[in-house]
Symmetry: C2
Subunit: 231 residues, 2 copies
Amino acid sequence: MPLHTDTHYEEELQRLQETILRMGGLSERQISRAIHSLVNRDSAEAQLVIDGDTDVDRLDVDIDELCLRLVALHQPAAGDLRFITTALKTTVDIERIGDQAVNICKRVLILNEEPTLKPYIDIPRMAEAAEQMVHNALDAMVRRDTALARQVIEADIFVDQLASQIFRELLAYMVEDPKTITRAAHVLFISRHLERIADHATNVAEMVIFMVDGKMVRHQKKNGGSASVLQ
Amino acid sequence: MPLHTDTHYEEELQRLQETILRMGGLSERQISRAIHSLVNRDSAEAQLVIDGDTDVDRLDVDIDELCLRLVALHQPAAGDLRFITTALKTTVDIERIGDQAVNICKRVLILNEEPTLKPYIDIPRMAEAAEQMVHNALDAMVRRDTALARQVIEADIFVDQLASQIFRELLAYMVEDPKTITRAAHVLFISRHLERIADHATNVAEMVIFMVDGKMVRHQKKNGGSASVLQ
């Protein structure tokens, strides 16, 4: 009986999947709380998100160690080995999603010291879409579901379009009233942080498709992050 | 004799290291050419950088496959396994460094259709520092040199300071003359792309220290990317 069918191995693989989903869930919550703190001008909540980032980081390290132990102690079959490899690369993206939530909150703290620039309508929509992308990308990964992964890649187009719209709108604010430039620049960067979160989710989805089908959709629709300025 | 001391294994490990350095070298060249195309307003060169990104991507896939083969066919000792794991995670960063060079060039193409905003002084300095960081981070990785890795992390502070300076200067341009806002926003994003390149190099350096010492310097000085706006 090959090592990779024993119970202990299956349990550890199961634990790896659960830890990936937990890390994803945490980073999703960090995004939604970051945007909540922006919309409600809640600096205390923003600070909680900043402090909570260590929890995301800790899971990153846990996952790396789970992966290493699986490979070192057992001899995973090709399919599982590909999953473990993808897990190792994926945590780089999930960890950075957490960082982007923190980056948003640092700007919220600054924005809260100034008068409100404008009501936020598109930013929460963008955040919701990005959060859903993160959720689906990690679901697709543990379920090895390429159809769901492709949905994530599609959704990135919507986020990029919102980002373009926000960019144009904020430039108009800046041109009209130079007093708004600093605040508008912070909001502009917040939309960029969200765009990067969607990019990270897209990267995960592309890795899932590569893991399952061996097809290189990675790097086809790339550098999407620039769309907001180029459109 | 354990498998991991056989000649074939050593050769493949050697090839992995060389491929990592080649990927790093390519991405360094992409950065320097991107900035050259900005300073010289050379759209043809910018387009070459954009097209050349597929070469960086191809090496990313090669490295993943080299790593998988090493793990699947041989049974790497703990130290080598840690190196291979780090390689898998590192290529995520190197590949994104290539993406950032492409992002810079897309903005160069747009900027070249407008009159020059200002002579570039700090941006090339920032690019040079970021490029050196990429070089040193990958050198540190294949040589398992934590002192060099720590130098990379230190250098990130200099890049962040330059980014802050550029940010303040560009905001002043925008406030003074709203006609410059769009162009200044593109230059602002170019400095952000460089800052992100330095962040990626820092991430690699942090992973090198973790690989060699098992010390978690990752996630200590994090979210550095925001420094430009917060200072």
